[in-house]
Amino acid sequence: MGLSNPLLEIHGLRKEYMQPGGPVQALYLDFLEARAGDAIAVTGPSGSGKTTLLHLLAALVRPSQGSIRFDGRDLPAAAYSARWRALSVGYVFQEMNLLPDFSLLENLLIAAEISGVPRAFDRSLSLLCRLGIEDLRYRRPAKLSLGEQQRAAVARAVLHAPPLLLADEPTASLDAENAGIVMNLLLELAAESKSLLLVATHDEAVKKRFPRVVELTKNIEKTGQRGNLP
């Protein structure tokens, strides 16, 4: 994939939700282009559509208008979106990322099986080691600290080396130290697997670590890409 060939292209993207009082504008993003290995912070005030953008990219919801092209193709229709996520998307939420009834290792193995990761066991174990939580692999999420849970969530999200890695406020529930650790891991692992990383965040400290920032606004007229290439 050459530099001239963007992995992600967004044009005139708009998402509206129908509400009793009329349609609610959840997101407007006129233009965005990104390449494999890029790391982008998505910022903006609460309600500006950060989460909505990540949902759209994961094909969890459909755009109301505009287009999202990934690797030269439109995002798949709803019927194929599960497969798209399994193969191409890694997703980290703010918290409660793990299945509560399964141990850390089982969480990884289930995700690996859904994504069809080869040699899943070895891959899971080496990732857990890399993240320093291999000793906790038989514990259920409820018996882990939030920082440990988030590290496990990162491990699970990068298990299949997805071309698109999405994280929605992944460090918002953590203290500064843990937030730093988790953010380091995300950036490192995304770079290793050449994933395009998009992290939604309010946090100035997090924002600073990204070479590129996309700022969303609630006001439609002023909305647009504010990010600039490094």
Binding site: A58, R85, A86, F102, I110, I114
Partner: protein, 406 residues
């Protein structure tokens, strides 16, 4: 996703919600058990009763309730109906329409085991002409008429404590308490007839009659006894000379003021029909219990499904296909339901066997457990309806998880 992984996820979910799982299993097992037990008991009882009635073609006894006559003669239960005169028996046995007639005298007992006064021609009774005799002796010999001798039915031999050679007095003999009452001596033991008559103790009818006469003399000396011979019989088992003769006999008894003739098989069928009405009510109760079980199950699945919405969202974000998500939830419900249904089937069978052995002890009716597997109908219906509704709940749950997580 591999089937083993789906099963792994479903069973883990069931285990981590042990209380809910237990409730579903218990409530389904209970309701299915009830239905199965009821079905088996009613079927087994019916077959057992039919078997018990088989050797009796026609019964003649005192006028009264035909059911009472049936219960007295065939099942050795209920208060004895009145007696008829010896001459009525004599008349019957001389009748050309009668192939053979066996007189019976009831009303006496030893430790709850009914004494039947009869004659040796009882040994000639056969269920079908080609069959061996219905009542056979396995140990000792048949009693000699006119002597205080007794033959024990199979269950009476096993449970009354009497053995070959033992002597015993009947309740009447004891009540009479005079020098005339003698001890009966056990001279033989009968092979099982797989029916209520296994509880009987057979003695010569004349002896029984003489004991009763003494008793009457003792108790009602002031009353004038019947001027006839005074000997009485309780019922007469009749083997008609032909099929047509059976009906002719029945017609001739229709207007008799003191006696009645019944076809035990028909009377039994009418009795079952009466019982059947109670059974119909019971099966409504069973259906209601099953419906409650189903509702409870669905409610539990619904709530635990609702509690799992976050998990379903996560699985969906991981890329698990919609139909796999539905399948796993459905599997969870169906595993719980089938476990309950299976345990219920076992429980029902155990319950039926317990009921049968209690019943067997009290009446010697030998209910046979039918091998038709018809009793599986209740668990199967519950399982299929439950499984379908579980699918609906699972589908609804999965649809509701389409809302993206935050």
């Amino acid at each position: 996703m591999k089937s083993s992984t789906k099963l792994f996820i479903a069973s883990r979910h069931l285990r981590s919600r042990a209380f809910q799982t237990f409730s579903v299993v218990a409530v389904v097992a209970f309701s299915v058990g009830l239905a199965v037990a009821l079905f088996l008991v009613s079927q087994g009882l019916q077959l057992g009763l039919v078997h018990a009635v088989e050797p009796f073609e026609l019964i003649v006894g005192a006028k009264g309730s035909p059911y009472q006559l049936l219960l007295n003669t065939v099942f050795l239960q209920d208060a004895p109906i009145g007696n008829i005169g010896w001459e009525d028996y004599a008349e019957l046995s001389d009748d050309v329409r009668v192939g053979s007639a066996v007189p019976l005298g009831f009303g006496d007992s030893y430790r709850g085991y009914p004494i039947i006064g009869t004659v040796s021609s009882l040994l000639d009774v056969r269920v079908r002409p080609s069959d061996p005799p219905w009542l056979r002796i396995t140990q000792g010999r048949w009693f000699e008429e006119g002597r205080f001798e007794a033959v024990l039915g199979a269950q009476a031999a096993a449970r009354s404590g009497l053995r070959l050679g033992d002597g015993f007095r009947t309740s009447h003999g004891i009540v009479a308490g005079d020098e005339h009452s003698e001890e009966y001596r056990v001279v033989g033991i009968a092979e099982t007839v797989q029916g209520p008559w296994d509880r009987a103790i057979f003695v010569p009818l004349e002896i029984l009659q003489s004991v009763h006469e003494h008793e009457h003399e003792g108790e009602h000396e002031s009353e004038s006894e019947s001027e006839g011979e005074g000997k009485e019989v309780t019922t007469v088992l009749v083997h008609p000379a032909s099929y047509a003769d059976a009906y002719r006999l029945a017609v001739s008894y229709q207007n008799d003021s003191g006696k009645q003739l019944i076809f035990p098989a028909q009377t039994a069928i009418r009795l079952f029909a009466l019982i059947g009405r109670g059974e119909a009510f019971l099966s409504i109760v069973v259906y209601a219990v099953e419906a409650c079980a189903l509702l409870t199950t669905l409610l539990v699945l619904y709530w635990s499904g609702a509690a799992r919405s976050r998990e379903r969202m996560l699985l969906r974000v991981l890329g698990l296909p919609f139909k796999t998500l539905v399948f796993i939830s459905w599997l969870e419900g169906t595993i719980a339901l089938s476990t309950g249904a299976f345990l219920g089937e076992l429980l029902g069978r155990a319950g039926a066997h317990a009921a049968f052995s209690l019943l067997g002890e009290a009446t010697a009716i030998q209910p046979t457990v039918p091998l038709t597997l018809q009793e599986c109908l209740a668990p199967l219906v519950l399982l299929s309806v439950g499984s379908l509704s579980t699918l609906a709940v699972a589908w609804r749950d999965a649809r509701n998880s389409e809302e993206p997580p935050r």
